[in-house]
Structure formats: structure tokens, C-alpha cells
Symmetry: D2
Subunit: 290 residues, 4 copies
Amino acid sequence: MSITLGPNRYGKAETRVVRIDRDSPRHEITDLNVSISLSGDFADTHLTGDNSNVLPTDTQKNTVYAFAADGIGPIEEFGSRLAQHFVETHPPTRQARVAIEEYGWLRLHVGTAPALHSFLRSGPEIATAVVDFDGASLTVVSGIQGLVVLNSTDSEFAGYTKDRYTTLPETDDRILATEVSARWQYANGQLQDWRQSRTAVRAILLETFAGTYSKSLQQTLYTMGERVLEQRPEVAGIRLVMPNKHHIAVDLRPFGLENRKEVFAVPDRPYGLIEGTIGRSGVATPGLDW
Amino acid sequence: MSITLGPNRYGKAETRVVRIDRDSPRHEITDLNVSISLSGDFADTHLTGDNSNVLPTDTQKNTVYAFAADGIGPIEEFGSRLAQHFVETHPPTRQARVAIEEYGWLRLHVGTAPALHSFLRSGPEIATAVVDFDGASLTVVSGIQGLVVLNSTDSEFAGYTKDRYTTLPETDDRILATEVSARWQYANGQLQDWRQSRTAVRAILLETFAGTYSKSLQQTLYTMGERVLEQRPEVAGIRLVMPNKHHIAVDLRPFGLENRKEVFAVPDRPYGLIEGTIGRSGVATPGLDW
Amino acid sequence: MSITLGPNRYGKAETRVVRIDRDSPRHEITDLNVSISLSGDFADTHLTGDNSNVLPTDTQKNTVYAFAADGIGPIEEFGSRLAQHFVETHPPTRQARVAIEEYGWLRLHVGTAPALHSFLRSGPEIATAVVDFDGASLTVVSGIQGLVVLNSTDSEFAGYTKDRYTTLPETDDRILATEVSARWQYANGQLQDWRQSRTAVRAILLETFAGTYSKSLQQTLYTMGERVLEQRPEVAGIRLVMPNKHHIAVDLRPFGLENRKEVFAVPDRPYGLIEGTIGRSGVATPGLDW
Amino acid sequence: MSITLGPNRYGKAETRVVRIDRDSPRHEITDLNVSISLSGDFADTHLTGDNSNVLPTDTQKNTVYAFAADGIGPIEEFGSRLAQHFVETHPPTRQARVAIEEYGWLRLHVGTAPALHSFLRSGPEIATAVVDFDGASLTVVSGIQGLVVLNSTDSEFAGYTKDRYTTLPETDDRILATEVSARWQYANGQLQDWRQSRTAVRAILLETFAGTYSKSLQQTLYTMGERVLEQRPEVAGIRLVMPNKHHIAVDLRPFGLENRKEVFAVPDRPYGLIEGTIGRSGVATPGLDW
């Protein structure tokens, strides 16, 4: 059994770039964190230290800045341009992955007028895109991280398995709170209205979370994904990762008080963690694999 | 020179409590992180381990939950109630400090209707209050943390001292970005419209940041504080801590490109750090001391 | 194309448990963070909210505590016991994954004598294990995180591809610094001397890093993995993730000084990121897949 | 009541600098995070944007690098050199504060031989120093952060005040765990054997924690400080901040098991927080004020 180099990749991670569009007095801001990862014919640098096939990660960083000079646009597009560039101009690269986080900014106002060049960071939500290019086709996975939501009622949890270690009482009314991480793969990685699609997916996720009576966080998760697929034909599949952020009603009886589901302690850990992919039968979504 | 116990305090830090107001079908949420600190006649537990004057920090945590059962209201008020309680019911306490962080939530919608019991965490901004009670008077310091703002122009930096270690070129057009931490002390710690005052202070800070041409971050900081004091007589003084989050225009000339102040690298560290108190002559603001 | 539930799993994440072995006056401490994830016949809770197959995550947490009462031992063993328990006692579970982080503690001394029951947290290093059980076989992947190492010389980087975006000068003497994340899969998931194997792997990684002249971080990474496989037959394969933590020699010439590779700035981001699996030909290591 | 500028300061925060001493084949590493803060005659930049008294924070960063070229030495000394420089060469500065964090590194081995130029980051402990210079005298405060320690027995907590909100049972045997933050001021800011003094203080803190039976964390804290002052005449006073990191014995009875103080849950929050200064009667320690 000889020793061999298996799957490997390399690249520049977390290049932070801000672009200001200033062609008009009304500026626009784009604020990104770009991570690049290349795989391909890179065995020599591992095995012998021969770097002749290695495009330095410093060059990758420079490329991000240089491409930003031409404008950025939706992160799915910027990621696609970068991924294609590395595969097409640097032959040892057989696959390029570009993962982008985008931070949101709101426009400030001066009096009632929108400011021309002043912004306030929104958050904690982050928009994400991961683009893979293999020389032939683009795989585009958009996402959202940090969407923290809470229903203060219309959530129950009952009818579950009990074993000797079960102490949790059933409940017909609890807080349901989570921090949604969503990633959805597009059926077609080619140009589409990325921003409109993202906005629509986000709205469906939020509205479904708010509008669904929940018998389990799993049911809520599945319904959220199902609604996205029902309403957005451009989406091939979606993966949701949703921690169950427990809110524990505090026992106030020792203090002579009743807790009418009003006062909750919020432990940081442990937390439930629910993960699921919702797809279309017969449609592969390799970009969503664990 | 005998060895002595100097200033000391103790308490329960970071009790996370969520309260749901559910008297009507339209729920409200309050989400707090409460830290309590007591000082007074607590030398014995240090010197001999005699705990007879010690109110356990676990009891302090319970008190937060029990008080939340009666409703929370503005954090300045909740902090005042708690601070007064400890001083008034536990005589060894000569001073109680209650520091509260409040996390914001937005109401979700289902269709066009505001949801009755569904919320989305806003942020990254946090509202703060620190209340001190010494048995006689309340000192109330409200604050905001995590207000990240950016002006993409109308900022210069020139005319500064140069020494042998100075390499920074002067500039008449740079990005000015910061994360505002503000704390302001009220002239009178008694009941007032805390929420309206907070909303107004926040609006003045943002509008001043957006509307001020900046020759230095110090000038921007001072003007922000000055406007608050001009417009809000209830504020005795304000302290602002503002890191200068540098945005460095990338040199694109090696790639045959020009950077028309559009593409910026954003290092995490180091950063400038500007701190200043703006007050009223003859008015002490001990709650704002470093 | 009907909508379908794809891969899904759920469990309790980050149960923090400390065990004190106190059968003798000389206590021992074990400090863990345990995350459990079950997959199997759990579609109903997603599709209809029928929880009859769901073992609550709260029960999983309780199980961790209850199992700890019998002693913990090496984390690979504790993870195996837990993973087997869930598959064997809760039939809807077809696969259980238990991921454990272990925090290290050193024994303090009083005078020259080892303390009986006093400990100091070591770190920042963390030991990890991920155990998968599918009802038939155990897959055990051990790991280390947070091993931050630095060579102050004997590292070069040259001979790489240059394109129009390349500005990096070649160097024959640079700092090589990284934070090693290592995961290695055992050829056989059954009982072995886990602690001795872990200690040996760690020592090989450190000694190889220190003892290898580096033409690229990739070469260093590969050599580290290769040596582990050469010397430890029980290891089927190893995956190393190593950020290139750049140390930039500061240009001191503007100050009339020379930098003889003594003074370095250390940016947080961006950083290179090198990832690679080293295996044995013909031996699958599914536990190391990206 | 006219509006006035109160206390203000500015500087460059968190300049990360690594120095490699390489005069001999056996290299040494020093790894710092340096923050500078100047106060003095800086009102003009606030009030009018006149920067003529402002030494740019970028220059301050350059100064850190330039001074590192001459060697660093103990952080108390490096901080003193920098603080004196700014006050002495830039007259508007009336006070300079230099705060330094130092990260520890261990030397790796190759075989049994100490490596010449390979290091492993130790931690999580950090050494700190804060030096203030006002043109006349140096105030030097050394410190340690991140010293996480635990006694698994010999700690009780009883005899405390009970009120209507008290539910905590008294205990004669609990885990006592904390993360020590210590700062101690030197009686004389002039040159002394900083490293030997730091090593000694650290050893006393650890040995006292380990060797003291505890009736309260306050008692432990005081004893730790007292021992430092008893044994180290160069220390004028010490301030200790020690969170009570609760370890809760898990109730295993529902599972038919007994918990013989062996299995503990470890919540992240809330935590007790104990703070105290131990000094010498008649000796002021302004550097330790809250």
C-alpha cells in the first residue's frame, strides 16, 4: 500500500474588498469577503516542492481586486467571472471554487433625503454564493446566513419517542427560535436575475417561518424549503441548517409567581441542530452535499 | 505597609432573559443580557470567607427573572428597578450597578399583514444602559454599540504633524468608516421618555455622521456629540468611542488599471481609535469616566 | 418533478460535560463538548409533524450525561459507545455521528508536589474525534485543531506561475506559519490504544513541521501526512487543512533602517488555505471526504 | 452651559508585530499586539479639524515597527520606550499609554534536540503590560489574561444571605473554576527584572489557587493577591477579575444513577463575576482603578 496524495486544493481565503460605485453623485457600496480554492494538477508542489503549476494565492487576491475594478454586480456573477478566469487562464486548474460573503449596507438619510454617500451596516444577516466551475459548467449555490427568527407561539413538540433517558415534558406551546442558514442550488448556473431570485427566496423563507404552525422544527424546515421549490422554478434544491435555539420558561413558583409563558432563560449551549435538503425528484444537487 | 482590600465588587453577569408580552394576540418581545455588580460591606467574605453579607449571584439571577415577570419596559427603567432593589433590600450593598444589553427584533409579515408573534433579529446594533444606585440617586447612562457607518467621500486628512516615521500621504478624499460606541449620561436619572430620547439621540448621531464634511475622525466625533447636546437638553454628556476602520485604495497600476477610488482593501487590524467625551461646562458626568 | 426530502439529520449539538474521576485523592478531569447527529427514518416529522420516530435532542443530551457517569475514557471510545447506543436502541436511526472536542488540562503544583485536584487549562489546542456508526461498522476519525506552529526560516517560495496579476516577489527565506487542523481515519474502528496513537501522530506532525525544509506549504503539508502514514500503520489516511498565516517583512527603509528579516507585520486576512488528504493506494477513507 | 470637549485620546490600536531574533542560529520569537493612546493638546482637531498637533496613527504604527528593529525585550520595557518617545518627541502629547499583549510560543524539538527555529503557540494565556508616561514618571501595570484554573474539590459555599429569591442550596463540596485576569502595578516603573517578577507572580497566583481551601471565590481571590504582595515587594497592588465559571452537578436520578460529584454541566452564561484590588495601606495604585 503505497502512500498517495488524495484530494487537495489551495487558494486565497477571505480577501475583503469594498467597491464604491461613484459614477454618479449617488454612490453605491458593495462589501465582500472572497475565498478562492483551486484544484487540479497540483501534485508536484506537494510531492517535490516544484511550484511551476502553482498560481500564487497572492496573485488570486490581486485578481479579486483587479476584477472589482470592472464592477462587481451580483455575487453569483462576480464568483462566476472569477471561477471561469482561473480555469480558463491557468490550465493546471481543473476546478475553481469561489465562495463569497456579502455584507449588507443601508443608505442613511439627512433630514428626509437619502444620503448620497453615507451608509449604515445592516445585519447580522449575510448573503453568500459558492460558484464551482470545472471548465464546462457552472454550479451556483446561493445562500443566506444569520437569519435569526423567533415565533413566540404556534409551536408544539409532542408524540416523540421516550426512553429511559427522556425527561423532556411534551408541550403544546413553546417558543420556536432558530438561526437559518440556507443554501440553494440553481438549476442553471447561467445568467439570471440573481438579485430578484435571492430576494424572493428570502421572503418565502421568512413568510413561511412566520405563517406555519409547527409540530417540530423539522416540519418547519421542510415547509420552508418546499415553499421555495413550489414558487421558484429556477431553484433545483435547497439545504437548510437550523439550530433549535432553546428558550426555557423559568420556574417562578419558588418566588410565589406564575410564569404564563412570558419569561424565558436562553442558554447558549447545547442546542438542537436540524439539517435537511429539499429537492426535486430526479434532479441532482451536488452543490448541496454535506 | 499592611496589606489591605481595596475596591471590590461582585455580581451575576450576563443573565440572558427573553420576555414575551402576550396579553393580546399581538405579542411583543424583549431580549436582554443583564449584568449586576454590587459593592459595599463585603470585606468579610474576602478576608475570612464569612459569607453572611453575601447575597448569592444565583439569587441575583433569580431576581432578574422574577422582576421580568412584572414586565420589563425600557432598559433604563428595568435597570433602575433592579439597582434600587438590591440597595434597598440588602443593606450591605452600598452601590448597585446594573448593565443591560438589549437586542433588537423586527416584526415579520405574512403577506402584507404584520405577524402577530413572529420576529426577525435586527442588528448588529445593540442598545445598552448602565444604571448605578448608591442609595440616594440614580445615575443612568444609555448607549448604543455596533453602529457601523461609512461615508464614501467628503472626508479628508491633511495638515498633520510629520516626523521621521511618517509615511502616510495626505488625502483630500478618503473613505471614513467607523463602528460607533456611544454612551450618554442623563442629567436626571428619574423617569423620562427613555425610548423617545434614545431614538432621537441615535437619529442625531447618524444624521450628523452622514451630513458632516470631515477633516478628521475627531472632528466628526465631536460634531456628533455636540449636536446631541444642542438638541437634547436631557443629556448631560456623551462619550463616543470610534475606531477608524481603514479602507485602503488598492494600487491597480501593476495590472494596467487605474483605481478611481473605487476598490478598497479592508484590513482588520491595526485601526485608529478615537475616544472623546463631549459635555456641558460645569456639569459632571461621572458615569462617562474612562 | 415532485418535491422530495433529501439527506437530513438532527441531533443535540455542543453538550458541554466535565467529568471528575475522584475514586482516589488524586483527581482526574475530562472536559468535553459533544455533538450528536442522527439520520435514518425521520421523514415523517418533516412531512407531517409526526414525531413518533423522533428521539428528542434533550434525551440525547441526557444520554451524554448518563454515559459519562460510567466513565469517559478516550474520546474515540466514548463516541463509539454513544453512536452504537443510538443505532442499537432507537431503530429508526440508521446512522449516528458523534463529534467530540476535548479540552486539555494540566495538573498544577503546590511547591514541587503535583496538586491532587487543581488544574490549569492548556491550549489553544483541541483534540477531536468523529465516530460514525451505521449498525455494522464504526468509522473513527481522530483529529487535532488549533496547533499553531511557525518556522522562522528554512522556507522558500519560488518558481511559481506568473501572470498579469502577479506581483509577489520570489523569496528564498520567509517565515512559514500555520494553524494545523488534522483529521486521520483509523483503518479499523475497533478498540486500540487511542491515546498512544494520538500522541504519536501529534508528535510526528510537529517534528516533521520543524524538521522539514519547505519549498511550499503544500510540500510541508504532504510530508507531514506522509510521515504519519509511514510510521503509524493503524492510520488509513489523514487530511490536513493548513492556512498560510502570512508574516510580511516590514519595509523599514523609509525610517533609515534595514530589516534583516527580523520585523514582521501579521495581517489577519486574507490568508492562503491549503488542504490535502494523504492516503494509501486502494484504501478508502470516507471519513475524510470534504 | 456651553458645550465643551472633555477627556479625549486617540491612537493606533492592535498593531501586530512579530520579531525574530536571528543573530545566532538559535532563533527567538516575540509576538505582540501593541495599542497606543495619546492625550494632550488635541482639542483643535476635534473643534475645527485643524490637524497640526496630530501625529497620525499610521505614524504610531510605523514607530512600533521601527522600534522593534532595535529589539523588543520585556513588554514593560518596550512599552516604556514607546510611551516616552511619544511624549518626548511630540510636545502636544501630555500622556501616552501603551498597552501590549504578548502571545507565548514554545520551542519545538526534532528528536530530543530543541529546534533552532521552530515554535508552537502556547496559550490560551496572554501576558499584558500597560505603561503610562506623563512626561515625569512611568506607571507600569503588568498582567496576565486567560489563566483558566479549576479545583475539583476543597471549595464550599454556605452561610450566605437568603431572601425570597434565593433557591441555591448550600454546598460543602463544589467545583471552583475561573479564568483569572490579573493586573499588578509596580511600586517603581523603572527598570527591574520584569520577566523574573512576572514569572514569580504567576507562580504565586497558581500555587495559591491550588493550595487554598475556599469558602468563597472572593476569599480565594483575596488570598491570591495577598500572597503576591507578601512575597513580591516590588508590587504595589494587584487587581484580580475572576468569573465564577459554574459547574453544575447533573441530576442523574431520573436515569436510575447516582451522581457522586463526577458529572457536571457547564453553562456558558450567566456567570458570577468577582473583582477586587489588593493593595498596601497608604500606597496609591492609580493604574488599577476600574
